[in-house]
């Protein structure tokens, strides 16, 4: 727990790249703004300036994206093969926290790689095309999960 608690808040406070609301007048009214254009590389220096510039809507949008991502990924991962690996290793060893630290940093690394790859793609592909591809990908993941359930 100490590990997770130490990593997450510092990442929240370090920097925040968001699309400036002025470039995106319709985005604030949207729920998740998934259809918004690719984020700019504008870096907000202080955590408080995010609220001053963008107001409540951007903040609420951030947390909505956070919780929808958190919820779906968490539910998809529970009982999945990562957990099986972790389980096996903690059963074999007598130091489950070492296993957790290794597994946890690997999971942070793979999710960071995933998001960075998505960002890299978003700079090269038209937003409309990317959204369509992302939408289809998410539906494929849905099929993947349904397939998993069928396999039980």
């Amino acid at each position: 727990m100490k590990f997770a608690a130490a990593v997450i808040p510092t990442t929240v406070l370090s920097s925040d790249s968001t699309t400036h609301p002025a470039q995106n007048p319709t985005a604030t009214t949207r729920e998740t703004a998934l259809e918004a254009e690719a984020p700019t590389s504008e870096v907000v220096q202080e955590p408080t300036s995010l609220q001053q510039k963008s107001g409540e809507n951007t903040n609420a949008g951030f947390w909505r994206v956070f919780f929808s991502t958190f919820g779906t990924i968490f539910l998809a991962e529970i009982g999945d093969k990562t957990q099986v690996t972790t389980l096996l290793m903690s059963a074999e060893s007598h130091s489950p926290w070492t296993v957790f630290a290794g597994a946890g940093s690997a999971l942070i690394a793979t999710s960071l790689l995933g998001v960075l790859l998505g960002q890299w793609l978003s700079k090269r592909i038209k937003p409309a095309t990317l959204d369509r591809a992302a939408g289809v990908t998410l539906l494929v993941i849905m099929g993947w999960l349904v397939w998993d359930i069928g396999g039980f």
Binding site: F74, E77, I78, M89, S93
Partner: protein, 101 residues
């Protein structure tokens, strides 16, 4: 005293099993299309950490506490909703730059 061998072993095992897995594919899809890639990263990382924390903490009890089929069914519905949301507003999005509120 840290068992670096065990730490490295668990890192590599989980890293390799997660590469190209659905949570990473979802992170690519959501991270590229969302206005808040940082929220996607934090949400994904926190979810994976909590899931593996529960794996270590509860061990075998997880399956009894949370029936995998139900949980995955809810997750499938969540991904479906997010996917449809991305696909739905194609028409209005194409003219987004012209539209002023």
């Amino acid at each position: 005293m840290v068992d670096w061998h065990l730490l490295g072993l668990s890192f590599v095992a989980v890293f390799l099993s997660e590469l190209g897995d659905k949570s990473q594919v979802a992170a690519i899809a959501l991270g590229g299309s969302s206005r808040f890639p940082k929220a996607v990263f934090l949400g994904t990382a926190a979810a994976l950490l909590l899931a593996s924390f529960l794996g270590v903490w509860l061990g075998e009890g997880t399956a009894q506490l949370l029936p995998a089929a139900w949980v995955k069914g809810i997750a499938a519905a969540g991904f479906g909703i997010m996917g449809i949301r991305l696909l739905w507003p194609q028409a209005e999005e194409a003219t987004e730059s012209e539209v002023e509120s």
